[in-house]
């Protein structure tokens, strides 16, 4: 149980067919819930403050998850105070690597909440099954289909927000019978520049996004299905107010074909095999910015081919998962700068010199229910990774910094983890530990003059970096009864060979306005700790109080603070339900960020708190449901910024929102 309890499952209830048979048909197009995976998901529309919010806004409410904001779009998720390089973000287990050298397109920016069923977050090594990571993994799980209903279903959704004139509109339609289903889903979002508190306009914060997905499945045999899926995500005219450049196009094609076999034998519960391909294109744009020192084009491409296969095997009290995972990624990014003097030739460089990454790994997990009170789980994984500089010119450029640079680099990556849970009479105690390794990211290994607008340094990759290694430990305590729930948990990561950029005063910056050059190097160690306290109190059935308090701490080997570590922060909600209406008062805030990293360009952020209100109404008829939600965020129009706001761009000010969801379901249960 322990391992599953560590997953925080946020269920986005989109599978309309499913909810007919749920006990409480109380869902909407995009409601979100925190559940325990082993239990039947409880549909709780009321817990959703803003049903049509972006995936980023959903993730921001998750424990141990932080989001780095460079604008109003494509926030970069952090888990346990670790960002993209140290965590594995996947879509249904598929590896996708952002095509932007400046992390302007995290994987999460290429999907929509309407594509997803739930988000699995696993901390530390418990999530490192399909790709080695240090901080953990975030898997965005897509809708699945059970072949238990037939007929048509669908939904139409509309959301509007006063701030940034944000409009969200989407539709979905699904047809199913006992052998076949197909589902089409479309979502559109458009926002102008948003206003921060005190009526402050934040220029270059607009975006437009179209997302379409198509899924079709067929039952090829009893207990065997084949599912094909395609997501096309196309975002244009995206402003990044915290950065010196915007993005004219961020486009993804994400495809997969999956075979699932269930109940193969009494022991083999399921066997899933998936092949996938995705390609991303990302084009930065500075043509709309005033006073550009030098105009430049910075296109980036990332393609990934992959294979996943997992078998779930039950042997007595053990539930084993055996898996293989492989992928091949190609990352290529370049920069062309146009001198002011038109007679001079354009200046060109590869910023990611066609880096090929091949990964092949094996993993196994066991969840051992020793008895009703004691559970043990453990996992092991091992993988091989090869990086290759495929472009000869790229290698020659690297040789400027590393005369002995080799075009290929091979690594073996290992990890293991064990955890124990004891539960009795509403008390639950968990503790665990793990060891893991990761390879440097493409930027860390091979990036060429990548400008970081946060600390104003150009970064040069280092192909000779060793594996980063981490030992982590976690402990948790839960008490729950009918009215009260207390959850205290914490984790600690001791990271060896911690990869970070070190100033090389001998190097001259390339980017105009940069302070200097940092080369990726490794500290002997760094340490990161995260702690959370969750309190829930439900005095009567329709009134709930909930509080979440979080604190993180991170230092390097010289006790200097690491950048982007969350200060003490809190969230507090009161929910009240009466008949078809529900109401929520929520507040969130943070203490002053004292533990900032001066070395990496951070400055202190002040304490803040904001207040949000929302009210919802639902109309439930046998085949139709209507959900209406209105609310206001940041009522006081507070001007504030947090530790995770790149260059301290201010967050949104007062915002009124309304969302409407109309759901129809004309399916019948298959016999």
């Amino acid at each position: 149980m322990w391992i599953f309890r560590r997953y925080i499952l946020l269920v986005l209830w989109l599978a309309i067919a499913d909810f007919l048979f749920a006990q409480e048909p109380d869902t909407s197009f995009t409601s979100l819930n925190e559940i325990v995976v082993s239990a039947k998901p409880v549909l709780d529309y009321k817990s959703q403050t803003k049903p049509l919010s972006s995936l980023d806004e959903y993730m921001e409410k998750m424990t141990n998850v932080g989001l780095i904001k460079r604008g109003n779009y494509a926030w970069e998720p952090m888990l346990n105070s670790m960002a993209s390089e140290r965590i594995a973000v996947t879509i249904d287990g598929m590896h996708i690597f952002g095509a932007c050298t400046d992390k302007m397109d995290p994987v999460t920016s290429y999907v929509e909440v309407s594509n997803l069923k739930e988000i699995n977050v696993s901390s530390g090594q418990s999530g490192a099954s399909s790709r080695p990571s240090i901080g953990g993994s975030v898997d965005l799980v897509r809708n699945c289909h059970e072949y238990t209903s037939s007929g048509w279903s669908g939904a139409v959704n509309f959301g509007a927000e006063s701030n940034a004139s944000l409009v969200s509109a989407g539709a979905k339609v699904k047809y199913a019978n006992h052998l076949f289903f197909t589902e089409a889903n479309f979502m559109f979002r458009n926002a102008d520049n948003y206003k921060a508190g005190k009526n402050t306009l934040v220029n270059f914060s607009q975006f437009t996004k179209h997302n379409a997905s198509l899924t079709a499945g067929v039952k090829v045999a009893e207990s065997q299905t084949l599912t094909a899926s395609l997501i096309v995500d196309n975002a244009t005219n995206i402003g990044y107010p915290a950065l010196p450049m915007d993005v004219s196009l961020a486009r993804a094609f994400i495809t997969s074909l999956e075979h699932t076999a269930k109940a193969i034998s009494p022991a083999i519960e399921a066997w899933n095999t998936k092949v996938y391909f995705n390609t991303l294109k990302h084009i930065m744009d500075d043509t709309k910015r005033p006073n550009v020192a030098i105009h430049m084009d910075m296109p980036g491409n990332s393609e990934t081919y992959g294979l996943l296969s997992n078998a779930i095997v039950n042997v007595k009290k053990h539930k084993f998962i055996f898996g293989i995972s492989g992928y091949y990624n190609r990352s290529l990014a370049e920069m062309t700068m146009y001198p002011k003097n038109p007679l001079e030739k354009p200046m060109f460089m590869f910023t990611w010199p066609d880096i090929r990454t091949l990964y092949l790994g094996l993993n196994t997990k066991d969840h051992w229910m020793i008895n009703a009170h004691h559970h043990l789980n453990y996992s092991l994984h091992a993988g091989f990774q090869q990086n290759k500089i495929a472009d000869e010119k790229g290698l020659q450029s690297m040789e400027i910094f590393y005369p002995k640079a080799s075009p290929t680099k091979n690594r073996f990556l290992y990890g293991l983890q064990a955890g124990y849970t004891f539960e009795k009479n509403g008390f639950e105690v968990t503790f665990g530990s793990g060891y893991g390794e990761r390879a440097p990211s493409v930027s860390e290994g091979y990036g060429f003059y990548l400008f970081n607008s946060f600390d104003k340094y150009d970064y040069i990759g280092n192909p000779d970096l060793k594996n980063e290694k981490s030992v982590d430990a976690n402990v948790g305590f839960v008490y729950r009864n009918n009215k009260v729930k207390v959850n205290v948990n914490g984790n600690y990561f001791h990271i060896f060979n911690y990869i970070i950029g070190a100033i090389n005063p001998a190097l001259s910056p390339m980017t105009i306005g940069a302070t200097g050059v940092r080369q990726y190097t490794q500290l002997p160690f760094a340490q990161i700790a995260n702690a959370n306290l969750e309190l829930s109190y439900k005095p009567i059935w329709n009134l709930a109080f909930k509080g979440l308090f979080s604190y993180s701490y991170g230092t390097d080997n010289k006790q200097a603070y690491l950048p982007l570590i969350r200060p003490f922060s809190f969230r507090f909600n009161v929910n009240y339900t009466i008949k078809s209406f529900d109401f929520e008062v929520a507040t969130e805030g943070a203490a002053k960020h004292y533990a900032y990293s001066e070395n990496y360009g951070e400055t202190a952020t002040s304490a803040y708190a904001i207040l949000n209100l929302s009210a919802g109404y639902k109309l439930l008829l046998p085949q139709y449901q209507l959900y209406v939600k209105v609310g206001v965020e940041n009522i006081a129009d507070t001007y504030y910024t947090t530790y995770a706001d790149w260059n301290h761009i201010p967050r949104r000010g007062r915002n009124f929102f309304v969302s409407l969801s109309f759901v129809f379901d004309k399916t019948n249960r298959c016999h």
Binding site: A293, I294, M335, M337, P339, K340, N341, L343, E344, K345, P346, M347, F348, M349, F350, K393, Q396, S397, E399, I400, F401, P403, F448, Y449, A506, L507, S508, P509, M510, I512, G513
Partner: protein, 277 residues
């Protein structure tokens, strides 16, 4: 057995035919070169070839072929000498150049270099007096060489702090890459109407990109004199394509500055060369 013999024969035939090709195909003599001009006298016709379609200020590799007009055969054993000369309004002068030598591995191709210090204009022009010596007889042609200004600064003339007149020329890389390139510079001292290669001075190179706020590159090595070709050889690393300015300082053995100065926040060296790709 028959088959093996046949194969062996075929291979042999192939080898012979490819050999023949190399020997007889005159195009391969001037592969990758462009004929710039042809000049003749009563006995000989001299073809002048280059890497580009014309001459530019700075370092130029110049190739020659001489045809005997009576027999129509290209000479393989001629002795060629030359004197490139600038005819100005009031005076004439030469430029740093090499002797003309037969190229290794070529039958009829001869090569020299010249470092043209200025471009042809309406009233001033370059010519080259070429003497062809065959069987003890000397025959002369004097083609006019049209030299255009290079788009980048490839040669610098300066008067040193020692009051001597120097010429500093960019020679390699002719095909620069975003990589660590082999750098070759030529340094010459004016001696009367001619020039002597300088070997006892030191050259310091500070490559910068003027359009990138004077971005510079790591891994450069200052060129040092190499007696095999009388040029200075070093390393030039270029982090990207575009226009690079090679800021130069020439020093003597006592570390006194003869020419140029260090780059500062506000000023580049007054002695520089350029490379663009």
């Amino acid at each position: 057995m028959k088959r093996i013999l046949f194969m062996a024969f075929a291979v042999l035939l192939l080898a012979v035919s490819s050999c023949k090709k190399e020997n007889n195909n005159k195009a391969s003599e001037t592969e990758d070169l462009t004929q710039i001009q042809e000049v003749s006298n009563a006995n000989f016709s001299v073809e002048i070839w280059g890497v580009k379609s014309g001459f530019e200020t700075g370092y130029n590799d110049i190739y020659f072929r001489v045809k005997d007009k009576t027999s129509g055969v290209y000479l393989q054993d001629a002795s060629l000498s030359w004197y490139p000369e600038m005819h100005m309004m009031s005076m004439s002068h030469s430029c740093p150049n090499s002797t003309i030598a037969k190229m290794n591995g070529k039958q009829t191709l001869y090569k020299a270099y010249a470092i043209f210090t200025m471009a042809t204009n309406a009233t001033e022009y370059w010519d080259a007096k070429i003497d062809i010596t065959k069987n003890g007889e000397v025959s002369t042609v004097i083609p006019v060489l049209n030299v255009v200004a290079s788009s980048t600064k490839k040669v610098a003339s300066f008067t040193g702090s020692d009051s001597k007149k120097y010429i500093l020329a960019y020679i390699e890389p002719q095909k620069p890459k975003a990589a660590v390139n082999d750098l070759v510079l030529g340094l010459f001292l004016k001696n009367g109407m001619g020039f002597d290669a300088v070997q006892n001075l030191n050259i310091e190179v500070d490559p910068r990109m003027p359009s990138m706020n004077n971005h510079s590159s790591p891994g450069n090595e200052n060129p040092v004199f190499n007696p095999s070709d009388n040029f200075y050889h070093g390393k030039l690393s270029l982090t990207m394509s575009g226009l690079w300015k090679l800021n130069l300082i020439v020093k003597n053995a006592n570390n006194d500055i003869i020419g140029g100065k260090a780059v500062t926040q506000t000023e580049d060296s007054n002695l520089y060369l350029e490379v663009e790709f």
